[in-house]
């Protein structure tokens, strides 16, 4: 059966609207819950104000960049012969707006659901879970709905407005570029904020003043809770929004360029079907995801395992249903089993990466238990073993990516890599929901502590939080895996686009020993190290600023420790905001500037000696080098960080001497190192590779039409 683009876009828009309507319904339900007593509401309001203030300043800073890039894109499209369309700029702004909105709405609901979760948890564990999870579904559904709406709408618009189909598709990449530009700053800025506040609060509070986490006497405690929302919620929302949108864009691009199995006979009907296939899979995924959220329910008195089982039931059911939908859509569109198998390989790969991530980071498995045990040998040993665990844990995700790539390409060429990424992300609505609920539960616990609610409430929120840690680790593995697949698909689209934009089976050959390629590979491999160094140093110095401020308040404001005077929370919030905004600039700019700078040099270098040093090969090398290098580092950091966190919690649960023992002190050091690993540097690398790839794809027409090579 053939399907016109209009029909498919209509279906996608309907699915997106259903998603948005569901999100509004869930939002209203969450807001209708009780927000608890005055004290709780006062605390929640301080967190809301802090999060909003940060996002406002972040967006204001990023708006400047967006404006500058928009102008550059418009200028480029005005120059004759660049092959770039002014619609790229339109797509860019739309992507930036949508990504910003996705982050904003996620944060909006999270800072309102936190206190309601606390209140619900004071009634029962299950009520707490329902409120927190409902807020997660708001975020998850908004992210996928906005992304699909944007891609499908712009696709229809561009196909109608732009005569040349390749230029139309190429303009679509602008949407992903816009999304990533927001995401990189949201992840880096939010990541610096959250970990600076967290580490800063812990270092003085727990270590020096010996007061528990989230104690209201700690001046950095509000900032710590704000951080959970701006980093783990808004940052992650923008990040995955972009993976989701870009995977679809890459698939449409590769379908348009005809990058199927070499030698396969492909007619126009097949190409059209291949173009709309990712949109339909995404649409099905949204509706299925909504349905699956209703499976997440528990009986009263459920144990931790039952809670986790209930979340898993939702995710696994969604995966199975999406798998069935992929088969149905593929057959309906007459795409054949090649495309179906490629898509399914991504879907299965995503689940597999999630499983392996959990294996290496959850304290119910041996690796993290052994890490806990090694803490008895002191901080040095626990750091060495944690790093080794993180390094070791790269094997499984690498094998998954390799197998998915081999299967997908064997099944249907480069297009297969892109639909594998689409398949992996098709269940994003619900996986993101299970992930985004974690920070809400974490916040809920903080509010319970600060509002001095009965111990039982904190115990319930702790149970929710601990569940959130498990899903967060899985979510991180999933985010990295899908980022790698998306980047691979984008790189394929970029290289295919370079090959002259003819609808044939494109192969772009390079001399593997071309010094420009080698140069690019080394430079690319270096980028994630530079990027991680900058973001980790930023966390270090921002945390130091918090430490100094907390110490100052303890010293100067009499009565804090006795609980007779209130600390100045706002100042810590302000300091975190200032440092995070200031220090997110450099890494963000590097990620944008490197591919653009290399492209400019490649263009300047045509026919002169610069061309011997920098060329399109340099950009290709840089993309490939940064992809593989970032993937390794990101997996290593995320898993080492997750394992250290849970190793500490395992000791706190009474193993190897429990809280306060030497082993616990060593594990706390591990956790301190792991924090910027897993929540700042690691996740930012996902966006780095996507950003490098999408910037290159956006400027591909420039490089393809230019008479170089």
């Amino acid at each position: 059966m053939g399907m016109s683009i209009e029909v498919v876009v209509l279906i996608s828009v309907i699915a997106s609207v259903i998603g948005l309507a569901f999100a509004v319904y869930q939002r209203n339900w969450v807001l209708a819950q009780s927000a608890g007593n005055d004290k709780m509401q006062r605390i929640a309001s301080a967190i809301q104000r802090g999060a909003q203030a940060f996002l406002r300043r972040e967006y204001r800073a990023v708006a400047i960049l967006v404006a500058v890039v928009t102008v550059i894109l418009l200028i480029l499209s005005a120059i004759e012969g660049t092959g770039m369309s002014p619609w790229t700029a339109v797509a860019f702004v739309a992507g930036a707006l949508a990504s910003g909105l996705a982050g904003y709405f996620g944060m909006y609901i999270a800072v309102r659901a936190n206190v309601r979760t606390t209140q619900a948890a004071s009634e029962s564990l299950n009520k707490g879970l329902r409120v927190a999870f409902a807020s997660g579904t708001v975020m998850g559904t908004i992210v996928v709905s906005l992304a699909l709406l944007g891609v499908a709408g712009l696709f229809l618009l561009f196909i109608n407005q732009i005569e040349n189909e390749f230029v139309a598709v190429s303009a679509l990449a602008g949407f992903g570029f816009g999304g990533t530009s927001i995401a990189i700053f949201a992840r880096v800025g939010g990541g610096i904020y959250t970990k600076a506040a967290d580490v800063g609060a812990d270092l003085v509070g727990k270590t020096e003043a010996n007061i528990p986490e989230d104690d209201p006497r700690n001046p950095a405690t509000i900032a710590d809770n704000v951080g959970d929302n701006v980093g783990d919620v808004a940052g992650m929302g923008s990040d995955l929004f972009e993976s989701y949108a870009s995977s679809i864009i890459a698939a449409i691009t590769l379908a348009t360029l005809g990058s199927f199995t070499a030698g396969a006979s492909v007619d126009d009907a097949f190409r059209l079907a291949a173009q709309v296939f990712p949109l339909l899979v995404a649409a099905a995924g949204i509706v299925i995801g909504i349905g699956a959220t209703f499976l997440v329910q528990t009986k009263e008195g459920a144990t931790q395992e039952m809670l986790l089982g209930s979340l898993r039931k939702g995710v696994y059911s969604a995966s199975a249903a999406v798998g069935a939908a992929v088969v149905a859509i593929g057959l309906l569109l007459n795409l054949g089993w090649g495309v179906i198998i490629a898509t399914l390989s991504g879907l299965v790969g995503g689940v597999a990466i999630g499983y392996f991530t959990e294996y290496y980071t959850a304290d119910s498995y041996r690796p993290t238990q052994k890490l806990s045990e090694s803490a008895q040998g002191g901080a040095g040993i626990v750091i060495i073993r944690g790093l080794a665990l993180g390094m070791f844990s790269t094997i499984a995700p690498v094998l998954v990516v390799v197998i998915v790539t081999l299967v997908a390409t064997a099944a249907t060429g480069l297009y297969g890599v892109a639909v594998a990424a689409v398949g992996m992300l098709a269940t994003l609505g619900i996986t993101l929901a299970t992930d985004a609920y974690g920070p809400v539960a974490d916040n809920a616990g903080g509010i319970a502590e600060m509002a001095e609610l009965p111990k039982q409430v904190r115990e319930r929120t702790d149970a929710l939080d601990s569940l959130g840690n498990t899903t967060a680790a899985t979510g991180k593995g999933f985010a990295i895996g899908s980022a790698a697949m998306t980047a691979l698909a984008l790189n394929a689209a970029f290289i295919a686009a370079l090959s002259g934009q003819t609808p044939e089976n494109v192969i772009f050959t390079v001399d593997i020993l071309d010094p420009r390629l080698i140069t690019g590979l080394f430079l690319g491999a270096m980028l994630p190290y530079l990027f991680s160094a900058l973001s980790m140093l930023a966390v270090g110095s921002a945390a130091q600023a918090i430490v100094d401020e907390v110490r100052r308040q303890f010293r100067e404001i009499k009565g804090i420790m006795e609980g007779t005077a209130e600390p100045d929370y706002e100042r810590c919030v302000g300091i975190s905001t200032d440092s995070a905004i200031r220090q997110m600039i450099a890494p963000g700019l590097i990620a944008v500037a490197v591919p653009v700078g290399l492209a400019v040099l490649a263009l300047i270098g045509q026919g002169n000696f610069i061309g011997e040093l920098v060329g399109r090969e340099t950009i290709i090398g840089m993309l490939v080098g940064s992809l593989i290098s970032s993937f390794m580092l990101a997996v290593m950091m995320a898993n080492a960080g997750g394992a250290w966190d849970n190793a500490k919690k395992y000791i706190e649960a009474g193993h190897f001497g429990g809280k306060g023992s030497q082993a616990h002190k060593a594990a706390v050091v591990g956790d301190t190192v792991g924090d910027p690993f897993k929540d700042t540097a690691g996740p930012s690398l996902n966006i780095l590779i996507k950003l490098l790839a999408i910037v290159s794809l956006v400027i591909a027409p420039l490089l393809a039409t230019a008479p170089i090579l």
Copy 2:
């Protein structure tokens, strides 16, 4: 001027013999020095016995591997159509023997020079320096002389014995393979030994029992001193032996294959000159290096800066003289300025990497001072900042490698990369001497402490040791940089050899999006992580065994702490040896098995579906991926480790609270993490990339003649 191969080989042999004679002369001079009193000699003899026992067991274990590989190589050469010569097996055995001898002689002189340095230091600082440095020159000169002797001799033999010039050159790669096979086990085994003993001794001795380093009451103190010799001396000797030999082999191979600038008109005379050029540069380097050692002299009462200046004078003079020799040889052979510039770029690049390494790791510069300062924030902060420093420090070496590659290739094609590596390593004789003297000085301090010599002696050896730390850091950067250039040259030779072994300007093009290439890149990038994880875990568990044993002895042997009973040093030596030997096997085997396994799969996969999954592209991808990934990790680990070490020493020198302060405790944790970074995992990665490359080069004929692709 043309030069026959016979004449050049004769010159090389003469240079090597001069080198060996000089080494014997220096050895005799060292042995003629006083070995001090009975107690000192007893301690030194225990260290000697331990080191010898370890080396014996290591070589016995490796001999099995060497025998197995030799048989495989012989079988392969006996099979019709593999294109492999039985001489490859001969070269392999010769390389293994020479590498083993280089390590053995280095260790032999080091364990005899240590106590003589102690005795000399009890007379004066300068005498101490002279003895320690003389032992370094023995090691440095033997390494380069054996390597040049082997390569030149086999080259002449093979050219005469084997009709096909390409097969002859390809057989030469066996020499490098043999060298690396020893080196990988020597570095990994020695690295595990030295750090397990060091960490184990410190953890119980310094941290629990509060006794100083090298205190005779610590049962692990002899093992600690043995470790310096088997890891830092024997391991490094085998490592750099191999870089040196392989860079020359790669240059000869690329000259034979005619891999010069594309389109350049190259006649047979030029090719012959290009073949012998690296041999002559190496020969000149040896003689110049010997001459430069005489510049390393100091006046009585020299300060630390003067000592360092004296070492630098030797190295820099040698570099300048080698530069002049390169120009002279290039002009003499009519090779033109392209080859000369390529070689000089490597020479300058080596010096630059050494400088940047020092900048990032020496406490006279800001990065390490800032790291020290951050230790006041606790162990977590100092670890984060150290990792960030290590990551940040990858920028400069990457830029150096990139610039050298671009310059060398622009100057004279792929052959340029190989002669750049030769140029970088031409001064190895003296750089290795300044490096190898460090562990001797370290040992000398240990003996002074254990023999309870006057405090002044220990102060002098500490000054020598601290000087050794600076040169060791420089040496490590140099080892990594030269390994990367050598691996790049070997990869070039491998890929050129794949292209059909015709003496033309070979270019091997690949589809950069070929899933097999992508697969190879990901797998290759993962290898150093797996390798590092294994070696770091090995250090962790071996150190744990030492900790348990030391604790047991403190508990069970009454009177140790009072100094009335002697601890059982031998048991700690035995435990370190056992764990190191046992745990070096897995990482070593992986490094050999991966390229061989992929090659087997590529051969099996001809014409069937396996060929869609694994092919020559997979091997190429694996080589490139592991090269860039290993380089980053190795630089990061070496520099972070060096910086942590010196940050700790900076605090011990009285900054930020000095010894015993909170900052010092945090810095000790950093140093504990840094130890396996800089002395086990990091340096082993150098060999990993060289081993992968040389194994591939050895089996290249197999893949080139097989009708795949």
